[in-house]
Every structure is written in structure tokens, then in C-alpha cells.
Point group: C2
Chain length 343, copies 2
């Protein structure tokens, strides 16, 4: 008999999720029946969208139920198998959530080849965040050579891929991040043309200086004050893929006025803007293969680089998740739930 | 020697444009030289976009200069000609602005055939407003058979065409207008499937009842409270062509809070909305010919009907324009500046 330690949603948080959002429980797992396999979670991905799943506001995905295991993408190793296609030691991309082990019937698992790329990248640059950047930038943003692409949270797994893919397409990439260390990493690690620190007291002026020809694509993943500043510079026919709004995920009510919506719609009208919300899965059928092929090539030849922020132990997830929502992490945040057998 | 009476922009208005926004002046016109023609304005179009041109806020078009004649589309008859392609009595679509006569060198004139359609329709259903509806709805809104299209200011020249074109494409058209008389006209004159009065105290409930399957296309031409109500019902992947925001054109400052922009962007994200501002001229090259062909056919076979609101005399333009911005007119507003020789 094996067991799993699970982090469940105990109550729906208000604002930044405190510790009592969660409950930790240990559950005995039944013996496998024919067709099942036992997964040991190696890496758990922490992503901003999880904040939305904690809430029961209407959304594109059902909320996590009270008492249910928190959802999340995982990289797992097969510990035991009674499934014909899986053997102990195999590595799989799974959606096992915030727990240490899970029983699967194989549905939704994707086999990972540790020789091809570090297995944790299936949660980052080769996975959902990388594909979000790829599909949103290329299908909605459609950057042309010489155009200016701006992205915030630019050291994150989506933002860093957006900037590097924009450059691979011949566009100029302007990255925005919080703090001088992250700002420097945009230049040194990810090759942005210009890097800005939104905490700088001169941010508005620095942004204006960074986009002398205006902004053609603003890849929206933060919202709030950064967005307001960038909008001052959008060109006619600019495209704004809306991928996330992490600055507001902990908000408990509509911010104080004035009401900026009429002004925003006026800007959309006067500049003939395209604003398009998206979730990456709508593009999987149309762009999934191209993504794997192109991104593998870019990683191999160094066109795209990535950075991971690894925290150890499932019990670290709640604090790490709070840090993610407030910008304290640096790179793709993953929890190493158990030993990585491939590293 | 002939003369022209002109209405010029005397000062930039704050809010609803008062009479002292304008100055009236009479100007002697010089004799024609070779290549010129003298136009007598028959119809002057009044359109919401003109409010934007009175302001010097950054926009897609330069503002009218102080002391300059107010701009506007016109239908004119040629009084005299020293131009090889034009003869007295010819009728032309022009952009002569708020005046009674103008000298032209032929640039930008389009010949109108009075046999084909009443000449005033070149300012309405067969002109810029009709094309705005056609291009914005079909290219951005892309209504599919059975989908629900909602449009406000629906008795206006753009809104009424949007609803009728939507129905011609097999979609369900829900029209919103102000007051019971306009509401009834949506059903009787323009064939909307459902008509709503946004001044009704039960408007929110009536709207909910009118869109049981949600809203797939919201053709945005008013903004404000109507927009907020419609947004509650937009479906995943809904399209919102942003054509105008007339409810806010007289606004002097951002409305009181709360700030609805974060909530709006959140909706764009969660519902994968497409919000796209546009000005019809970007579609002239791609859709202009199809428009003339299709709209002529629809007018001929009764698929599309139109309504005009004709006021007499150039001196009526300032008051009529205020009425346009506050919904007092009913149908395409034109000023009959001088006698229509074709009617």
C-alpha cells in the first residue's frame, strides 16, 4: 500500500490566499487494478491561473471544489504499472495537482523523453506557459519585423518566451519586470532589446524613451498601472493579446475610480486596436505541432533560453504561490515534490 | 459672383456643443478658373464623429482648426463648371462641410446617379454609415447563422443597417433604442427579432430575456450603461466591433468610479473576447465593391430599409447636431441645405 499527501482547498480565499485556504491530508491509496498506474509527482507547476480556480466567479473553467485537491500540471515518474503502455521509471506530463502521488488510468498523460529536454521544462518553456506565449504572440499579436513588442512580467515563463519569440520574428522586444535584478536578467539572460523596472520612480518616462516608435503589440499578462502606462503609447492597429491580469488576481473589489473603461474603449476606437482574450488550449489543434517543432529548435540553438525557480517540498507550495502572485519569484516556478530521477 | 454661407468652429466646446461653438459667415466666392466647378450643397450629413473633430484630443483624424469650416459629407449639385468631367446639374458626393456652396477641382468627388437611389442615401445607407455597419459587422463581428447580434442606437443609420444585415446573414438581431416609439420602429420598420427600450425601468431584465443564448456579437456604438448591461451576457468567443461611443462624446472627464477597466479586461480574458475598434475607411479597398453590390440589392428587394430625419436649412445644423448626440433624432440625420433638384 502506498499513500499520497494532498493539499486541498479548505475555503475560498479573499485576496491573497492565506495558509488556512488549504488543508493538508494524507490518504492511503488502494492497490492498482488492471489498466492503472501509480504516479509519483516529481515537479508541480505553480501558475497564476490557479488563483482563478480558487474562486467561484464565472470563468472558463470550473472552480476547484471545497475539499478537492488543488489542481495543477505535474511531471511524474511511474512507480508501479498495470497499464500496458507504461512501465516503472517512465516519465509523464500529468495534471495530478497538489499532491505527492496519484493513481491514473493513463488518460491525459503525455510521455516525456528525458534525453530531449530537462523534464521540468514540460511545465514551462516546452509546456503550457511556452505555448501560451507562442500562440498568443504569433496568432493574435502577429509581430512584423521592425515592430515593437512590449511584455510585462517579462522574466516569467510566458513573458520571457514572448520577448525571445518576438526577436526571433524580427521584432523589437521591450521587457518590463519588477526590480533591478530582474531588469538586468532581461538583458543578460533573455536578450530583450530594452529592459525596464516598473518600480522605478521614472518608469513612465523610461517607458516613453523605450518605445520611440510606439507600441505595436502589447502582450497583456499583468494589468493595472503597467498596462495604463503602456496604453499611452499604442499605435494605430496595435494588437493586445490578453493572456493574464496577475496584478488583479487578489483584488477583492473593483478599484477606486475614476472609471477608466470609457477612456479605454475610446482608445480602442481611435487607434483601431485589437484586444483579444485567449486561453492557450483554443490554439492547440492549430498550432501545437508547430510549437513543439519551433520551440525545440530554438532551445537547441540558443534562440530561446529559460529560467526556473525551484522550491523544494509540497509543503512549500502555499507560500511559493503567494510569492508568485506578488512577483517575488524569478523564472518559472515549480515545486520539486520528490527527487528528479533524471537529473 | 456667387457666395457661400459657412458655419465655422469658433471655439472648442466643453460637453454638449453650445451655439457659441460656431460662427456663421458669408464669403464671396471668386470666379471659377479652368478645371474648377461650383457646387451647391443640397444635403449635409450630421454624424457623431464630428464631435471628435471639434476636440483637439489625439485621434485618428486631425481636429477642425479654429476658424475653419466644420467638416462633413455632402451631396451637391453642380451649378457651374469649367471642369471637363462635370456639367451643370450633375450630382456629386462631396466632403464640402457645413456651408451652402463650395468650389472644387474635382478631387474626391463621386458622381451619383439619381435614378439608382435617392441622392440623400449616399450620406446614409449607401454611404459611410451603411458601409460602417457592413464592414464592421461582417469583417469583425462575423455573425454566423443562428447567432445573436445586439446593437444599440438601433434606429440610427448604422444600427438599423447592422440589424438588417445580421438578419440577412441568418443571425438573430436584437435592437436597443431609446423610447417606445423608436422601439416599435425597430420591429415595424427594420424587422429586428427583438426590440428593447433602454429607458425602460426593467431594461436589464428585458435584455436578459431577449438573449437566452447569450450574445455572440455586440456592435458597439454607444458605450455607457447599455454596454455594461450587454457585457453581462457575452458568450465565450464573442466579438465586439467598436464603431462609436456616442454616449460619452460630450463627457468632460472620466466618469466616477469604481474603475471598471480591470473587470472589463478580466471579462475579455475569461470569455476569450475579441474587441476591435475600427474606422470604416480601412475596409474600403477590401469590401467597398461588395458593399455597393450587396446593399444595392438589399435595398432593391426590401431586405434593408432605411429612415431619414431631414431638417431644413444650414442654420438648423447646430441644434440638430446636439439632438444627434443625445438621441433626439430618429433615423439618418441630414440637413437639407438647398432644394433637391431630383425629388
Amino acid at each position: 500500500m502506498s499513500d499520497t499527501t494532498q493539499i486541498t482547498l479548505a475555503r475560498r480565499p479573499v485576496g491573497e490566499p492565506p495558509d488556512d485556504t488549504y488543508e493538508v491530508r494524507r490518504v492511503e491509496l488502494p492497490a492498482l487494478v488492471e489498466g492503472q498506474l501509480l504516479l509519483r509527482v516529481v515537479y508541480l507547476s505553480l501558475d497564476p491561473y490557479m488563483r482563478g480556480r480558487m474562486s467561484d466567479a464565472p470563468s472558463y473553467a470550473a472552480p476547484v471544489g471545497i475539499g478537492d485537491v488543488m489542481v495543477g500540471g505535474t511531471v511524474c515518474v511511474v512507480e508501479e504499472s498495470r497499464h500496458p503502455e507504461w512501465a516503472p521509471g517512465d516519465v509523464a506530463l500529468s495534471y495530478s495537482g497538489w499532491q505527492t502521488r496519484a493513481i491514473s488510468d493513463g488518460t491525459g498523460l503525455r510521455r516525456l523523453d528525458p534525453e530531449r529536454a530537462p523534464i521540468s521544462t514540460a511545465l514551462g518553456v516546452m509546456g503550457m506557459p511556452g505555448f501560451t506565449a507562442y500562440a498568443g504572440l504569433l496568432e493574435i499579436g502577429r509581430p512584423q519585423p521592425g515592430e515593437t513588442v512590449v511584455v510585462a512580467a517579462a522574466t516569467g515563463p510566458v513573458g520571457s518566451a514572448v520577448g525571445q519569440i518576438a526577436r526571433a520574428r524580427g521584432a523589437r522586444a521591450v521587457g518590463i519586470a519588477g526590480g533591478p535584478e530582474k531588469r538586468q536578467a532581461l538583458l543578460d539572460d533573455f536578450g530583450f532589446d530594452v529592459a525596464l523596472d516598473h518600480r522605478s520612480p521614472d518608469f513612465a518616462d523610461e517607458l516613453a524613451g523605450a518605445v520611440p516608435d510606439g507600441v505595436d503589440v502589447y502582450f497583456e499578462n499583468v494589468g493595472g498601472e503597467v498596462t495604463r502606462q503602456v496604453l499611452r503609447h499604442v499605435n494605430t492597429f496595435a494588437r493586445i493579446p490578453v493572456c493574464g491580469l496577475v496584478s488583479g488576481y487578489n483584488a477583492t473589489e473593483a478599484p477606486e475610480g475614476p472609471d477608466r473603461l470609457p477612456g479605454f474603449l475610446g482608445l480602442v476606437l481611435r487607434r483601431s486596436l485589437t484586444v483579444r482574450g485567449f486561453i492557450q488550449d483554443e490554439f492547440t489543434a492549430s498550432h501545437g505541432r508547430d510549437f513543439v517543432r519551433e520551440m525545440s529548435g530554438w532551445l537547441a540553438d540558443g534562440t530561446v533560453r529559460y529560467r526556473e525557480d525551484v522550491v523544494d517540498g509540497l509543503e512549500s507550495a502555499p507560500e511559493a504561490f503567494r510569492g508568485l502572485l506578488t512577483g517575488r519569484n524569478f523564472g518559472k516556478l515549480v515545486v520539486r515534490v520528490s527527487e528528479d530521477p533524471t537529473s
